[in-house]
């Protein structure tokens, strides 16, 4: 069986859920192997979880450089892991999460491996044919790399993780970063995400739009999200009006989400918003305007005031949980 390498996505000593999804996709094609790039000691904290998620092998690429530079450590580490796994004849694909960094790593790695690249796959079959959902889900395209080892980024939440425990055998690999082609990270500023799940990977997303009316009133969106254990999103109109921070924007120019459930509150459903959420499995929309385009794609639509409907739903959800 050929090896399929998966770049482990981790932060603060914890594995991101997309890693389990990538290992599940990898198992369809060959033997899943995770590649952990991090500061010394990073892999030890993740090894148990990676094995449980399906990694037969874990390539451990640790260096103090891993956290001080952006992108190029992962590129060099994956290149080293490809060699350690036996090179082109033995490696069937390299899978990465479709994040900003994931796409950059994939692009650079593809050039180093002289390989084709496919970005933002929503599915992958056993012959490494990737399914893409393009133009915001209005076209379904299948695509295949025809040169070198396929390098593929996969959208978070698109593949359902089905963990099959693997051996988790650890294999150290060495890599070096050339400072002339490297970007140094000098500081990172992130808002504490609190207890809410990551927007891109959440199973449920509750989003508010212009209809929410103010930053203060966004609490009605947050309360429903918290009752459902969901991430909070916002339309571009809500972000541009200053109701909610930019990093929560869902749509063509924000984050693309593909959750099991998407609840749109006071969002009209402009094409640019739909492009970022219409591959959601189920869509619920609440809007005062019966002609809002969001209703055209909603599985369940409510014409009404979100300030009546959302709190009632929040209460129902909380009471059903007991």
């Amino acid at each position: 069986m050929p090896t399929v390498l998966v770049l482990a996505e981790h932060a603060d000593g914890a594995l991101r859920p997309v890693t389990g999804e990538l290992l599940t996709a990898a198992r369809r094609v060959g033997t899943p192997a995770a590649v952990v790039v991090g500061a010394p000691g990073a892999a030890a904290a993740l090894a148990g979880e990676l094995a449980a998620a399906g990694a037969e092998k874990i390539f451990v690429a640790e260096s103090p450089d891993a956290d001080s530079y952006a992108v190029t450590p992962q590129v060099a580490a994956l290149q080293a892991a490809v060699e350690a796994a036996g090179g082109a004849g033995e490696v069937a694909a390299v899978l990465l999460p479709n994040t900003v960094d994931g796409r950059d790593i994939a692009g650079r790695l593809a050039i180093r491996l002289d390989s084709g690249v496919i970005a933002d796959a929503v599915d992958l079959d056993e012959s490494v044919v990737a399914t893409l959902s393009v133009f915001g889900g209005s076209y379904v395209v299948t695509s295949q790399v025809t040169q070198g080892i396929p390098v593929i980024t996969v959208r978070a939440g698109a593949v359902t993780a089905e963990p099959v425990a693997g051996a988790g055998e650890q294999v150290p690999v060495q890599f070096t970063v050339d400072p002339a082609t490297a970007t140094t990270v000098t500081a990172v500023h992130t808002e504490p995400a609190g207890d809410r799940p990551d927007l891109a990977a959440a199973q449920t997303v509750v989003s508010g739009g212009r209809g929410v009316g103010s930053a203060d009133k966004f609490s009605v969106v947050e309360q429903l999200a918290d009752a459902l254990g969901a991430a909070v999103g916002a339309s571009r109109a809500a972000v541009d009006s200053g109701y909610y921070p930019h990093q929560f924007q869902v749509g063509q120019t924000g984050t693309t989400v593909s959750p099991q459930l998407y609840i749109a509150l006071g969002i009209s459903g402009a094409i640019q918003h739909r492009a970022g959420m219409q591959t959601s499995k189920s869509i619920v929309a609440v809007n005062k305007d019966p002609d809002a385009p969001i209703f055209e794609i909603a599985d369940f639509g409510v014409v009404g005031d979100l300030f009546d409907v959302a709190p009632q739903l929040t209460q129902e959800v909380s009471s059903r949980k007991g």
Binding site: A70, T72, V75, T99, V100, D101, R103, D104, I105, G107, R108, A110, I111, S115, G116, V117, A119, D120, L132, V134, F135, Y139, V141, T142, S143, V145, T146, Q147, T153, A180, T181, A182, T183, V185, T186, A187, V188, H189, T190, D198, H246, Q247, Q252, T253, S282, V284, V286, E296, A298, D299, F300, G301, V302, V303, G304, D308, V309, Q312, L313, E316
Partner: protein, 260 residues
């Protein structure tokens, strides 16, 4: 090259995202359908380049690869204030994938010479968003993706780049490649003087042969489309008008669908 900062900006003519976009039967973009405009994000890239050149001196060159009508995108950038343009145009390049596009653009950029390359962070018509990274790797450049602020001091570039949940401060030695996010400078509108001046600015055209490119075109792509089909439109489900119990009815729907 002039003294100061020489900046190459990649621009792309794309179908208007507000209009319908279509794929042709072979899975490539139907570039004749709908209105074509300069990618909004690229005009922000031009703006950043103009501001840096105004501060540090030097020349701004806009570069595009695309059919003849892509000249319109170049003229718009020249009208904004860019000094000259390079148009890589050749039927042999039609159907290029990200791998080939990055090879062609790298070759064109080598003929231009630069201290900094600026691109949009994701062309709104593309299916990959990997071209800037591939280009940086081919040219041996450090790369900053999704920058919302860029400054240059001597041979060091400093930037704030958007990351999941916030932003990071980064530095990189020049020459470098930066892709800008929509949170960076708003593009200036070309004025009448700029539009008139643009007509006299040099636009150099290059062919695949000029750049010594081989294995071009869709038949030699490193990835290929196996199938492509419009997705059946999502059908509207049930729609109710709130009579005071809609919240409870949504909860029932979610329970039936096993979503809660």
């Amino acid at each position: 090259m002039k003294p100061g900062m020489n900046i190459a900006v990649l621009v792309k003519q794309v179908p208007d995202t507000y209009a319908e976009r279509r794929l042709k039967d072979d899975g490539t973009l139907d570039r004749d359908a709908g209105e074509a405009v300069i990618d909004e994000i690229d005009s922000r890239g031009v703006e950043v380049a103009l501001q840096l050149a105004e501060q540090h001196g030097g020349e701004v060159t806009v570069v595009t690869m695309g059919p003849q009508r892509a000249t319109e995108a170049l003229r718009k950038a020249l009208a904004m204030g860019a000094d000259k343009a390079v148009h890589l145009v050749d039927d042999a390049l039609a159907g290029s994938d990200a791998w080939q596009t990055s090879a062609a653009l790298a070759a064109a950029l080598r003929t231009v010479g630069f201290d900094l390359v600026i691109t949009g962070n994701e062309a709104s018509d593309g299916m990959t968003g990997t071209v800037p990274a591939m280009l940086a790797e081919r040219l041996g450049l450090p790369q900053v993706t999704s920058a919302r602020k860029v400054t240059v001091d001597g041979t060091t570039l400093s930037a704030e780049k958007l990351i999941d949940g916030g932003y990071a401060e980064v530095t990189a030695p020049l020459p470098a490649l930066v892709s800008v996010s929509e949170k960076i400078a708003d593009p200036r509108y070309p004025n009448f003087k700029g539009i008139m001046a643009a007509k006299k600015k040099p636009v150099q055209t290059l062919s695949a042969a000029d750049l010594g490119l081989s294995n071009t075109g869709g038949a030699n792509a490193a990835s290929r489309v196996v199938s492509s089909a419009p997705k059946p439109p999502r059908e509207a489900g049930q729609k109710i008008t709130d009579d005071g119990t809609a919240g409870a009815k949504v909860a029932e729907f979610l329970a039936t669908e096993r979503l809660i």
